[in-house]
């Protein structure tokens, strides 16, 4: 195992460090003190509390369901993800597992907070598979299903997946899928279609003189009418509008086969080039579509500055077979002044991609988990803010969230915190927002364990609203 590199700054005294940084950047006593306070507050928010009397009975019952063998691990995972091990009393026993393409997905547990369900799972590499702590979850989905375990009742609005633990010895990644929406059923299924590991940085300039390449092509352009038949879409920025250009004015290159790519990154290549009416057209073709590919083409000048494209269009279709689909061809249109200037530009791909990508179908079928403890308060009160009055209709509090329900939608996020009887305040972060057709709006706040037994107020901006 490599040793940690020694940082030369380690060898300097505090006085030398201050001197080195200068007045503008050296750490002041206020900085050091402020960070320490913030650090202690963060730890406090993460620190498990010793007692929750109000839910003690539920704890006994739920632990009996989950089984003591797994209880320690669930506590550890909940401590890591939610910031409180005591939330494990709300763990539901989920037992499904699924193996495909050399990997096994196995459910650990789940908790449900209203329309938000958190499914904890282990993904394990069987013989020869590569997993690592940079696991990227590609395509996944969840839906409520009918009793015959086939009929879709409802699909989730959204899903966020997060890696929370990785065990090198067993090649097991522990992930949490945050499923947002209602199942409208007693049963549900989670499906994983693709994932990837081995993140690689891409900073790859095509080793091609663009001027020569343009000269060597005799590209044919298709007018907007033809593009409309083949195109998936187009987009443009402010500069395009400022020039009073319209999509109908634009032409794009016919699909070409130049195959200009780089050794470092060959998932996408330049397939055609052209210069017409004072504009440079660069067409790229996606050869391989992989989950987590975030390398983007950029045209750069000699100083490395990126020139934004005036207009983009895309057409064709490529299916990865891993639940991913995208346009096969993308075209970028630039104004480089004149064709002579092209020798001053390079074209390349920049960003990240994953070198090990896996597709398959891993499914966890489960009974929809029981909701955790929930307290709902009718408020019907207007609070005054810098943005004007906001009418709070209800507040719903659970051990992991506070949701404020407003009579009318607002376009800004109020500051929300939990205030306890002993005066301590825990700031919460907005996690999601939903506006109903009748204009009512729900705003959900999470980020810390909410000790409901000791909660006195929910504070919205500067106003405290009693919730005891």
């Amino acid at each position: 195992m490599d040793r940690y590199p020694i940082c030369p700054l380690e060898e300097l005294s505090d006085e030398q460090l201050d001197n080195l940084l200068g007045d503008e950047w050296k750490a002041t006593p206020d900085n050091i003190s402020h960070i320490h306070t913030e650090l202690k507050e963060r730890i406090q928010r993460r620190k498990p509390r010793r007692q929750i009397a109000i839910v003690a009975l539920v704890a006994v019952l739920t632990l009996a369901l989950v089984g003591f063998a797994n209880a320690d691990r669930i506590q550890m995972l909940f401590g890591r993800y939610f910031g409180s091990q005591q939330l494990s009393i709300y763990a539901n026993d989920i037992t499904g597992s699924s193996t495909d393409n050399g990997f096994t997905l196995k459910a650990i547990t789940a908790v449900k907070d209203g329309s938000d369900t958190y499914l904890f799972m282990d993904l394990t590499a069987e013989d020869g598979g590569i997993l690592s702590d940079d696991l990227y979850i590609g395509i996944c989905g969840a839906e409520g299903i009918g009793k015959d375990l086939g009929e879709t009742v409802a699909s989730m609005f959204g899903i966020g997946c997060e890696l929370i633990d990785y065990d090198e010895q067993t090649a097991t990644a522990t992930i949490v899928a945050h499923l947002i929406g209602d199942f409208y059923s007693d049963q549900a299924v989670f499906t994983l279609r693709s994932f990837a590991t081995g993140e690689k940085e891409v900073s790859s300039i095509l080793d091609v003189d663009l001027s020569d390449a343009v000269d060597s092509t005799q590209p044919e352009f298709m007018p907007f009418e033809s593009m409309e038949e083949n195109s998936v879409g187009y987009g443009y920025g402010d500069e395009f509008e400022k020039r009073n250009m319209t999509p109908e004015d634009m032409e794009c290159l016919n699909p070409g086969d130049l195959q200009l790519n780089s050794n470092q990154y060959d998932l996408v290549e330049v397939s055609n080039l052209g210069y017409k009416d004072g504009l440079l057209h660069i067409q790229t073709r996606t050869r391989t579509l992989l989950p987590g590919d975030r390398a983007y083409p950029e045209l750069r000048d000699q100083k490395g500055n990126v020139l934004s494209s005036l207009y983009q269009t895309n057409f064709g279709f490529i299916d990865s077979g891993m639940g991913l689909a995208a346009s096969e061809y993308n075209e970028y249109v630039y104004d480089i002044g004149s064709l002579e200037n092209l020798k001053n530009y390079t074209f390349g791909f920049y960003g990240h991609y994953y070198e090990n990508a896996y597709g398959g179908k891993w499914q966890i079928k489960m009974d929809v988990p029981e909701n955790m403890q929930t307290a709902e308060y009718d408020i019907n009160r207007a609070i005054t803010t810098d943005h004007g009055d906001v009418h709070v209709q209800k507040i719903v509090v659970t051990p992991i969230s506070a949701t404020i329900i407003l009579d009318a939608a607002i376009e800004w996020a109020p500051d929300v915190s939990a205030v306890y009887r002993d005066g301590t305040v825990t700031e919460l972060k907005e996690d999601g927002m939903f506006t109903y057709e009748d204009g009512k709006q729900e705003r959900r706040y999470t980020g810390a364990f909410i000790d409901m037994a000791k909660l006195a107020y929910i504070k919205i901006n500067s106003e405290r609203i009693a919730v005891e």
Binding site: L21, N31, L39
Partner: protein
């Protein structure tokens, strides 16, 4: 308590006092590591440095098991974490001028006769005039490549390389002399 196995043991038991002790010992160092990277961008502020320092120690609190004493000292480990987080922060604020860990190779000091006394080297560098002083600090204390230094200081790469070359000759001679005197 100092950097002892006792401190590490207590960190592994999530002892808040141990974290405070680690913070007391290394906060200025970690601040210097983070601000060295973030101060090179107008898009970054002192608040970004504060956040980076806080993240570094919070990461130690959450995952003390990630520190492996067999691979080196706790302060080296924290410097590594801080550097990585500062780079992420820098890149988030400067999407058109991405920096990579490879831009900070641990090779600069190999240019001097070994072993190098960093304290003395800094004292000598401090006596130089600008912009040579800043170039040398970035090269030998932040281990930035000449290209990165040139970008951050808006200087031609050639000028950075020339100044490094000339200063290195002079510093090598001074450091050798100091070592002989000792």
């Amino acid at each position: 308590m100092g950097e002892t196995s006792e401190l590490i043991t207590k960190l592994n038991k999530h002892d808040p006092e141990a974290l405070s002790e680690a913070y007391h010992l290394y906060s200025k160092l970690i601040w210097a590591v983070a601000s060295g990277i973030l101060s090179g961008s107008e898009a970054c502020s002192r608040e970004d440095v504060e956040e980076c320092v806080c993240d570094t120690f919070f990461s130690l609190w959450e995952h003390p098991e990630k520190y492996d004493s067999g691979r080196g000292s706790l302060r080296s480990y924290l410097c590594l974490v801080a550097r990585s987080r500062a780079l992420n922060q820098y890149n988030a604020r400067n999407k058109n001028a991405i920096l990579y860990l490879e831009d900070f190779p641990h090779e600069a000091m190999e240019e001097f006769p070994q072993p190098v006394d960093y304290g003395e080297l800094y004292t000598e560098i401090r006596n130089l005039s600008e912009p040579t002083r800043s170039i040398l600090i970035r090269r030998y204390f932040y281990e930035e490549k000449p290209r990165v230094i040139a970008d951050k200081m808006s200087l031609p790469v050639k000028e950075v390389e020339n100044r490094l070359y000339r200063a290195k000759q002079k510093l090598s001679s001074i450091l050798s002399h100091l070592r002989e005197v000792k």
